[in-house]
Symmetry: C2
Subunit: 171 residues, 2 copies
Amino acid sequence: MDKGYIHVYTGNGKGKTTAAFGLALRALCAGKKVFIGQFVKGMEYSELKIVDYFKNVEIHQFGRGCFIRNQPSKEDYEAARLGLGKSKEAMLSNQYDVIVLDEINIALFFGLVTLEEVLDLIKLKPEKTELILTGRYAPKEIIECADLVTEMKEVKHYYTKGVMARKGIEY
Amino acid sequence: MDKGYIHVYTGNGKGKTTAAFGLALRALCAGKKVFIGQFVKGMEYSELKIVDYFKNVEIHQFGRGCFIRNQPSKEDYEAARLGLGKSKEAMLSNQYDVIVLDEINIALFFGLVTLEEVLDLIKLKPEKTELILTGRYAPKEIIECADLVTEMKEVKHYYTKGVMARKGIEY
């Protein structure tokens, strides 16, 4: 099997989590095994139903049912802690072809996890596993250790027109 | 039902088609109906198997089994022509919640379709349909008529390290 690489999808534009799920979909269609851990998020996203369609995928949420507005709460820290543990287990199990750590950069940004913790987690990546890290504000240390980095740059966004998040499109 | 918008995913980074498929996945998981037309591409991508897992999706390829290296061939033009026709039918049928025209910007770039043809096609979008256009080199006229535009900017890519496209990750 091929060597696995580290991808980072960052930037302020729409498409980061979406691309990670697209990649998960492609991998699943190719018979690969996928682990998805969503940091910060705990909402009922439509894409969580991916487990009803594919048997080789696991998805876990390590966040509360709402976005962090100002300061993270104790529950946010605890959820991220759980996320770190579960992600570490996923790495060490060496049973996933693709591991997605969705919004891990945002968990970092809010100080829910430390840069050292994330870098240590990345080091546990099994040779053949593809690791996908998403979220705005990827710090330069994460970008440095990645093999592929795409910045999703917002050129135009309809939220500036007052369009709210819609089921099946945004969540 | 909500009004549908026009998205453009362009730029030189990895994640455009992947994000379009991620969006298709989210929409399908939410019970929506999806049409995917792939311009220029005719290769055996893993993600084509999406039809084996979801019943509400249709996928068509309007390209040959290889990339256009220099000049498009007669077959490339014919395939793109077929693509325009099929995409027009999909729009007019008014039965899809999401329509993806993958790599349509590349078809434009190679002159397989004209800007006027694409703009005319966009005008056929039913009010409630979400339209997703992907591919590098989106011209300003397409960007102008879109509601959401993300530029996937390559910050780092592993192909510079000699990594070839891999099944389940790139295709």
